[in-house]
C-alpha cells in the first residue's frame, strides 16, 4: 500500500481564496442593486463587464502572456472589476471603462507579479488612471433617475460643499444614507454598503479594524472642523455619508493584499486613511480624497508591517524590523 508521507498538519480549512472572493462579490450585491435602482440598467451592464471582463482579462494575461497554462481563476479579478465599476459614474463610456479595467489589472496587479504581490489596490489604480486620463468623463455626474438615464448632470454633495459651502449642499441625510444622490455607482447608498459589510464581518472575511479606525478618525476630525467653521467644513454626518468614504472604508481600504498584517497595523492604516481623506477634502484641489488616501496608505503598508510586528510570546521585548 502506498502511504502518503507529508508534513503536518494533515487537516486543512474548508475555506479558500475563491470562496473569499465570492463572498466579497456577494457583499457588493446590495450596493449594486441600489445602483441599478437609482441609475438604471446601465449600472448593471458596467458591473457585469467588470466581473466577467475582469476574469476573462486575467485568464488571458495569465495563460497567454505570462504563460501559466494551468492557471485556475480565483475570482480576485472579478472583485477588482466589480469594485472598479462601483468607482465610476453610470454614464462612463464602455470603452473608457474597459481601458480602466485593463489598467487596473495590468498596471495595478500583473506588472508586480499578480495576486498577493501588488502593493496598490488594483481597482483604485484603475480609478485613478481614469481620473487623470479622462477627467471630464470621470467627473460628469448623473442625476439618479429611476430606470431611464438622462443626460442631466448634477454636482455631488462634496463638490457643492467645496465650491459653495454647506448651505448649498441641499441633500437630506436620509437621501445620502439611502442613496438618492449623484456620484459613482457604489457611492450612492451608504445603507447598502453597510449591509454588505456586515455580511463580511459575519463571515469573518474582513480586517474589521481598518474601517473602524478609518471612519472613527473621519468622525473625530470632521466634528472638530465642524465646530470651528460649520459653513465651510460641513457637518460630520455629511462627511461620513457622502462621497466614496463608505465604499472606500468598507471595501477598498480592507483589501487584504494591500493592507497591513497585524491588528495594530490595521488601526494605523485606517487612521492614516482618515487623516489624508480629510486633508484632501478640506484643503486640496479635489472635493474627494478617499482613493488617494488609500493608495498613499497602501504604499506605507510594508513600513507599517515592519513597525507593528507583534511581540513574540515569551519575549520580553518586541522584535524590531530590519
Amino acid at each position: 500500500m502506498k502511504l502518503n508521507v507529508v508534513p503536518s498538519p494533515h487537516i486543512k480549512t474548508t475555506d479558500s481564496v475563491p470562496r473569499i472572493m465570492f463572498d466579497v462579490i456577494l457583499a457588493l450585491i446590495p450596493a449594486l442593486v441600489a445602483a441599478v435602482y437609482f441609475f438604471g440598467v446601465r449600472a448593471l451592464v458596467l458591473a457585469l463587464i467588470g466581473i466577467f471582463g475582469g476574469e476573462l482579462l486575467e485568464i488571458i494575461i495569465m495563460r497567454y502572456i505570462r504563460g501559466i497554462k494551468d492557471f485556475k481563476p480565483d475570482g480576485s479579478a472579478a472583485v477588482t472589476g466589480l469594485l472598479l465599476a462601483m468607482n465610476v459614474n453610470v454614464g462612463l463610456p464602455i470603452w473608457v471603462f474597459t481601458t480602466g479595467l485593463i489598467a487596473a489589472l495590468v498596471l495595478g496587479k500583473h506588472v508586480y507579479g499578480g495576486i498577493g504581490k501588488n502593493p496598490f489596490n488594483p481597482a483604485l489604480v484603475g480609478r485613478v488612471f481614469l481620473l487623470v486620463s479622462f477627467p471630464s468623463y470621470m467627473t460628469t455626474w448623473w442625476a439618479p433617475k429611476y430606470w431611464k438615464l438622462e443626460a442631466l448632470t448634477t454636482a455631488t454633495p462634496l463638490g457643492l460643499l467645496k465650491e459653495k459651502g454647506m448651505e448649498a449642499v441641499g441633500f437630506s441625510y436620509s437621501q445620502l444614507f439611502l442613496g438618492n444622490t449623484g456620484g459613482c455607482l457604489g457611492e450612492v447608498s451608504a445603507l447598502a454598503l453597510i449591509i454588505g459589510f456586515l455580511y463580511l464581518v459575519f463571515r469573518k472575511r474582513i480586517k474589521i479594524l481598518i474601517p473602524v479606525s478609518y471612519l472613527g478618525v473621519v468622525l473625530i476630525l470632521s466634528s472638530i472642523f465642524w465646530m470651528v467653521n460649520p459653513e465651510r467644513f460641513g457637518t460630520p454626518l455629511l462627511h461620513l455619508l457622502s462621497g466614496g468614504l463608505m465604499l472606500g472604508a468598507l471595501f477598498m481600504a480592507t483589501d487584504m493584499v494591500t493592507t497591513p498584517m497585524t491588528p495594530k497595523g490595521h488601526l494605523i492604516f485606517g487612521a492614516g486613511c482618515g487623516v489624508i481623506t480629510m486633508i484632501i477634502r478640506y484643503f486640496a484641489g479635489y472635493p474627494e480624497g478617499v482613493s488617494f488616501s488609500i493608495l498613499i496608505m497602501n504604499s506605507l503598508t510594508p513600513l507599517i508591517d515592519m513597525y507593528t510586528r507583534p511581540k513574540i510570546f515569551g519575549k520580553s521585548m518586541g522584535v524590531s524590523g530590519q
Binding site: 500500500m1 487537516i11 486543512k12 480549512t13 487584504m256 510570546f313
Partner: protein, 442 residues
C-alpha cells in the same frame, strides 16, 4: 464561568466522537516487538542484550546514556532476535531497534524493586524509580520524566500542571484514561507532587470533556489537586499555552517551564508513574487511540511499546480502501509514517488513518495577506513572514523573527485559505539553520 485560555489558536473539527465512547481494551501481547533504543528525546540507550538472549517483560534491555536519555525495557517475554536498523518516524533516519520474538506460554515479568506505597520513599528515591522505569513524556514529546523532576540548582518548583487538555483533534486516549483510571492518575499526581515537593497541582481539561472533568474532580476530592476547565481551542495543550492559561505565567522564549517554577506532565505519564512506583511496572505499554475514517473500527487500546502498526491495525479490522495516510499522533501534529511495519514509540498517543476526503485542503495559491495566520499563531509569530523568509533562504532574518520559537502546532497552515504550508518550510528552515550552525542547539 469564564474558561481559561491563551491568545490565538484555531478550531479544527474535533472528530472526537469517532473514538471517545470506546472503552480502553488491552491488546494481547503481539508475536513480535521492535523497540527503538531512542524511544525518547536525547541520546539513545545502550543495548544490554544481544541476539539469542531470553528476556522477561519489564527487563531492562537498554541503559540510559547521558543526562537526557532513558532506560528501555523489554515489552514482551521472549527471545532477542537481534538489533535491526529501521526508519525512526520522529528522527527520520534509520535507528537501532531491539527485536524481540514472543515465547510460548505464560509471560514472565520482572518488576522494579523496591516498589509500593510512595509515602515510603523520599523524593529522591521516587525520581530514581521513575528513571529506572524509563518513563518519558507520553503526550508525544518523549522527554525523560526524571529530568523534568530534577530542577537545576537554584530553581524552585511551586506548581505542577497536569495536561489533560487533549487538544489534538481525533485523539481520545487521555479522555478515556481520565474516565477509566481517575484514581490511579490522581495517585500518580500525588507521587509527582511528592517528588517535586510542591503543594499544588492543577489538572487542565478542555471544556469538550465535561465527563472527564467530573471524573477527575471526584477522584481528587480532598486532595490539593484542582481541576481547571479550559476553552476548547487548539493548541490548548501546548506546554507554554497551557501554563499561561492555567497560571498566567509566561515561559520566556527559549526557556523552560521550570524557569517559571512549573512542571507539566501529561495524564498518561501520571498513570505510568503510578504503575512504576507502586507496582514496579516499567514503561512497557501505553494507551493510544486508533482512529480516523481510514480505519474500519476505532479503538482506545493499551499496547506494548514496539508493537508494529500493522498488528494494531489488524486488531481493529484494518484500513479502508480510500485511506490516504497513516499518522503517529493526531491530524494537527501527527507524523505520517512510511510503512505499516513501523513500531510504536513511547510517545505514540494515537494511530490516525485519514482518508483522501479528510485531508482535502484549498488549492495551493499565493498568500493573499489575509492575516489569519498572524491571528492564529499561539506564539504571536508571523507565519506568513517566516514562510517567506524561509523560502528565500534568509535564515538569519527568519531567526530574528522568531523562527526557533515556532512550536510547529500547525494552526497557520490549517487556517490558510491559500493552502500555504508554513510549518513545512519552517521545519525545514530550522533544520538547515541548525546544520549551518553546526548542530549547536538541539
Amino acid at each position: 464561568m469564564k474558561l481559561l485560555t491563551f491568545k490565538g489558536g484555531v478550531h479544527p473539527p474535533e472528530r472526537k466522537e469517532l473514538a471517545s465512547s470506546r472503552k480502553i481494551e488491552v491488546l494481547p501481547p503481539p508475536s513480535v516487538v521492535k523497540i527503538f533504543l531512542a524511544n525518547h528525546g536525547g541520546a539513545p540507550a545502550k543495548p544490554l542484550v544481544q541476539e539469542g538472549d531470553t528476556v522477561k517483560v519489564g527487563q531492562k534491555i537498554g541503559e540510559a546514556s547521558g543526562f537526557i536519555s532513558a532506560n528501555v525495557h523489554a515489552s514482551l517475554a521472549g527471545v532477542v532476535r537481534g538489533i535491526e536498523k529501521i526508519l525512526h518516524p520522529v528522527q527520520e533516519k534509520p535507528m537501532e531497534a531491539i527485536v524481540i520474538e514472543k515465547a510460548e506460554g505464560e509471560e514472565n515479568w520482572e518488576f522494579i524493586t523496591p516498589h509500593g506505597d510512595f509515602n515510603r520513599f523520599s523524593p529522591r528515591e521516587i525520581v530514581e524509580l521513575i528513571k529506572e522505569a524509563g518513563i518519558v513524556g507520553l503526550g508525544g514529546a518523549m522527554f525523560p520524566t526524571h529530568v523534568k523532576l530534577t530542577p537545576p540548582e537554584g530553581k524552585t518548583i511551586d506548581l505542577l500542571i497536569i495536561n489533560g487538555a487533549e487538544c489534538e483533534p481525533y485523539l481520545t486516549i487521555d479522555h478515556r484514561l481520565m474516565l477509566e483510571k481517575p484514581k490511579e492518575i490522581a495517585r500518580g499526581i500525588k507521587i509527582l507532587m511528592h517528588a517535586l515537593g510542591v503543594k499544588r497541582a492543577i489538572i487542565g481539561i478542555e471544556s469538550n470533556k465535561p465527563d472527564a472533568v467530573e471524573s477527575m474532580r471526584a477522584a481528587c476530592q480532598g486532595e490539593p489537586i484542582e481541576v481547571a476547565v479550559l476553552k476548547t481551542k487548539y493548541p490548548q495543550g501546548a506546554e507554554k499555552q497551557l501554563i499561561y492559561a492555567i497560571s498566567g505565567r509566561v515561559v520566556p522564549a527559549g526557556g523552560l517551564p521550570l524557569d517559571m517554577g512549573v512542571v507539566v506532565q501529561n495524564v498518561g505519564t501520571c498513570l505510568a508513574v503510578y504503575n512504576a512506583v507502586e507496582h514496579g511496572i516499567p514503561l512497557v505499554e501505553r494507551g493510544l487511540t486508533v482512529t480516523g475514517k481510514g480505519v474500519k473500527n476505532t479503538a482506545n487500546l493499551v499496547v506494548r511499546i514496539g508493537t508494529l502498526t500493522s498488528t494494531i491495525l489488524e486488531h481493529v479490522g484494518g484500513l479502508t480502501d480510500d485511506v490516504d495516510r497513516v499518522l503517529f499522533g493526531g491530524p494537527m501534529m501527527g507524523i505520517a509514517i512510511r510503512s505499516l511495519d513501523t513500531p510504536i514509540l513511547k510517545g505514540t498517543s494515537g494511530i490516525t488513518a485519514l482518508t483522501a476526503d479528510e485531508v482535502k485542503g484549498p488549492t495551493p495559491r499565493t498568500c493573499i495577506r489575509c492575516s489569519r495566520c498572524v491571528e492564529a499563531c499561539p506564539m504571536n509569530l508571523q507565519p506568513y513572514l517566516l514562510d517567506l523568509l524561509a523560502k528565500k533562504r534568509l535564515y538569519d532574518q527568519a531567526v530574528e523573527q522568531g523562527l526557533m520559537d515556532c512550536i510547529e502546532c500547525g494552526s497557520c497552515s490549517y487556517i490558510c485559505p491559500s493552502g500555504v504550508e508554513h510549518v513545512k518550510s519552517i521545519k525545514l528552515a530550522k533544520k538547515v539553520y541548525r546544520a549551518l550552525r553546526g548542530g549547536g542547539k538541539k
